[in-house]
Every structure is written in structure tokens, then in C-alpha cells.
């Protein structure tokens, strides 16, 4: 069963909140208008449309836009071998969406990672703790306004952090240029950082 047909079936159930599927390089994306009903949509996608595998949940920080965050759910069905992508916009003020751990248990760690890195909370999550940074770390480091070198002295008594010396960095590789000399790692200019590094 092709992905197009599955996407249309899903739209038949939730036509009021799902956008027209957008195809890009053979993969379909559905925009979800109401983040509160993501659990319901996923339940149907798994039970009826046999999307039995949650590949990943990612989050995007669109700093300066409203709503600020975008959550992306990648679904896959081992039976019909089709991918489907669901996107939903989450504003910074709301900052939370219902969990899908009751649909796919693997969503547990994905959602913990999103909470750790971007600070988006998941309602009904069984274990809403940080997964990568240590307990008590105050920041969500994958936000666009978080400096790469970190913030100094985040948690006294628990752990110490200092700003990492960037030494003219961060160094980035320029893609799409012809020769290796211009492709090699270059320092990104300090004014591009929201918080310039100390060194």
C-alpha cells in the first residue's frame, strides 16, 4: 500500500486538522494543526494504518518565528514499507505536547532527549527526566540562543561548568565549494553568535 494512500486515509479520519500531504523526494509530510491531538492521530496511524515503527522524533528551533518549535515524527510500517512524516508547531508559551509513549514505547527516550535539549515537555510521559545532560543542569543547550561554549558556573555544589575556549571557532566546513582549500574548516565569525565567546 503506497504512502500516498495511507496519508489520504489518515486525512479521512482527521481531515480538519491535517494538511494536504506534501511530497518531497518520495516522502510525504503532513502538517498537524492541533498539537493536542497528536496522540490520537498516532494511535490511529499505528492501530489502523499499521505504522508500527516510530523511527524518530526530532524538534526544530525556529528562533525568531512564532510558533517557535516544530516537532517532527517519522513513522514507518514494516508491513507496507512506507514512511510518513508528521509535523506540528509548538509555541514557546505552551511548550508542551501530549506524549506518544502509550502508542510506541520507543518514544520514551526520544521525548526525553527533546526535553533535555530544547525544553519541550511531554504531558503524560512516565519518566520526564533529562537523558544526556546531568540532573540539575539549568539550560537546554540545543536552543539557538544557547552559546556553543556554554554558560559558566551553572550549578554550584553539583557540578561546575566553564565556558569552553573556542579559540577563534567554532570551525565549520564550507560545503559546495570547488577546492579543498576553501572547503577546509573555517572559523565562524563571532558576531554570528548570539553570545560572543570570551576568547
Amino acid at each position: 500500500m503506497p504512502a500516498e494512500e495511507l496519508a489520504q486515509q489518515l486525512r479521512g479520519r482527521f481531515g480538519d486538522i491535517l494538511s494536504e500531504p506534501v511530497a518531497f523526494r518520495g516522502e510525504l509530510t503532513l502538517q498537524v494543526a492541533d498539537p493536542e491531538r497528536i496522540h490520537e492521530i498516532c494511535q490511529v496511524a499505528k492501530q489502523e494504518l499499521k505504522f508500527d515503527y516510530l523511527v524518530d522524533i526530532t524538534s526544530i528551533d525556529n528562533l525568531g518565528e512564532d510558533p517557535r518549535f516544530t516537532l517532527v515524527y517519522h513513522l514507518y510500517g514494516y508491513g507496507h514499507k512506507s514512511y510518513l512524516r508528521l509535523k506540528l508547531a509548538v509555541s514557546e508559551e505552551v511548550g508542551q505536547v501530549p506524549t506518544v509513549t502509550t502508542v510506541w514505547r520507543t518514544a520514551n527516550w526520544h521525548e526525553r532527549e527533546i526535553y533535555d535539549m530544547m525544553g519541550i515537555r511531554f504531558k503524560g510521559h512516565p519518566d520526564m527526566r533529562r537523558i544526556l545532560m546531568w540532573e540539575g543542569y539549568p539550560d537546554h543547550p540545543l536552543l539557538k540562543d544557547f552559546p556553543l561554549s556554554g554558560r559558566p558556573g551553572s550549578v554550584p555544589e553539583v557540578a561546575f561548568t566553564e565556558k569552553a575556549p573556542l579559540a577563534g571557532g567554532p570551525f565549520v566546513t564550507v560545503s559546495g565549494v570547488r577546492d579543498a582549500l576553501s572547503r577546509e574548516p573555517r572559523a565562524r565569525l563571532p558576531e554570528a553568535d548570539s553570545e560572543p565567546s570570551s576568547t
Binding site: 544526556l132 552559546p147 556554554g150 554558560r151 575556549p165 579559540a167 567554532p170
Partner: protein
């Protein structure tokens, strides 16, 4: 008035000399002739028998007490500090703090090709209480730094730290928020090893340099007297 006077010291010396000459004379005679001294000389009576029950002529010339050079070789004279350091530096048991790719090189150093046991450091102890040197091999994140510190604190003195590779020494290429910029911000590092990751030869060189450092350390003067 005649007065006979003796110097008793001279008389004593004369007795000893004559006795020695008699011994030599007896030996010389025994070489050439079968010759037996009268019984009172070696017999089992008199003061010789009382004082040397085994017979004076059967008494052993040396007595073996404790150290036997024929079994144990020559005696080495040294300072106690040097001896203690010698013990320490040749059995450095590492605490392998393998955190990243440097740990692979650490494993290579322990395997047969590079064979860290040539320097007495092959006994990788995964218990901090049994280890002497912590080899921090890899990137230390702030989250892991708490555990590294805790393990270091559990190690018994004397303890040493080798920062293996660029990450453990300075943070390496990870100039970013989660990475501790060098384990020396947390622990007293004895030896830094450059490389990303260092080859096993570099680790062995670092180990030898640590041994040289240990050999110069004072031991007894640092001990506390209760």
C-alpha cells in the same frame, strides 16, 4: 732481690702464636706422614671436649643464619626510599578510565603486540581500591566528570593520573558546552600524553616517564608519625 716480672699481654700473645704454629705444624706433618697427636690433644676429655662437644676438629667454620648468598645471590645495598619506589614503579596497576576512542589504544597497549606488562602495568583493575594509576583515556564530559572524580577519590594513596590524549588533557577538539576542558581542572595530573588518540608507544612512553617520576619521589619523609 730477684724479681721476676711478666707482661701478661705478651704472654697471652705468645700462647696464641705458639698454638697457631702448632696447628700449622700438625697440618704439615699430616700431609707428609701419618701422624697422630697424643690423645690429650684431640681426645674427648679435658676442656676442649667440654667446650666443643662435637669435637674441636669437627666444628664448622661458618654458621648459616638467614641470608644465604649461594641461594639468593649478592646483597644489594640501597636506600629504603629507593627500594619502596622501585616496588611502586614496577607494579603500577592502572584504573582504565576509558571514555572514548583513546580507550581502544589503551586496549591495544595491553594486548600482546605492545604488551604493557613489560612495564608491570598490565593488571587493569576495574576497582579503584586496587589500582595505582588512573589512565583517563578519552573525552571527559561534565556529566562523566562527577563519576571520574568519585572513582579517583576512592583510589588508595599513592595514586597517579595519566591524561591520555588531547581530550583528557585539554578538551581536545570539543570546544563546547558539555565537555570538561581538561581533566586537570578536576584531578592532579602527573603525565599528559599528546595525540588524538596517542599511539600505544606514546602511552608506554608516558608510563615510563611516570616511573621515572615515581623513582625520584620521597617516601619515608612523607609518612606521618602517629
Amino acid at each position: 732481690m730477684s724479681r721476676t716480672s711478666f707482661c701478661w699481654i705478651c704472654v697471652g700473645l705468645l700462647v696464641i702464636v705458639v698454638g697457631g704454629w702448632q696447628d700449622g705444624w700438625k697440618k704439615d706433618c699430616e700431609k707428609n706422614h701419618k701422624f697422630n697427636l697424643p690423645e690429650f690433644w684431640n681426645g674427648d676429655y679435658g676442656w676442649r671436649a667440654r667446650h666443643f662437644p662435637g669435637g674441636a676438629h669437627k666444628m664448622k667454620k661458618t654458621t648459616e643464619i638467614g641470608y644465604d648468598s649461594r641461594i639468593e645471590g649478592d646483597v644489594v645495598y640501597t636506600r629504603l626510599d629507593a627500594a619502596l619506589n622501585w616496588f611502586r614503579k614496577n607494579s603500577l596497576w592502572p584504573m582504565p578510565m576509558g571514555l572514548a576512542c583513546c580507550a581502544i589504544e589503551l586496549m591495544g597497549s595491553g594486548a600482546s603486540r605492545y604488551d604493557i606488562s613489560r612495564f608491570g602495568a598490565e593488571v587493569m583493575r576495574f576497582s579503584p581500591r586496587q589500582s595505582d594509576v588512573m589512565i583517563v583515556a578519552g573525552t571527559v564530559t561534565y556529566k562523566m566528570a562527577l563519576a571520574v572524580k568519585r572513582i579517583y577519590d576512592q583510589m588508595a594513596e599513592p595514586k597517579y593520573v595519566i591524561a591520555m590524549g588531547a581530550c583528557a588533557s585539554t578538551g581536545g577538539m570539543y570546544r563546547s558546552y558539555p565537555v570538561l576542558q581538561g581533566i586537570d581542572k578536576l584531578l592532579p595530573v602527573d603525565i599528559y600524553i599528546a595525540g588524538c588518540p596517542p599511539r600505544p608507544e606514546a602511552l608506554l612512553d608516558g608510563l615510563i616517564r611516570l616511573q621515572q617520576k615515581i623513582a625520584k619521589e620521597p617516601v619515608l619523609s612523607t609518612l606521618k608519625v602517629a
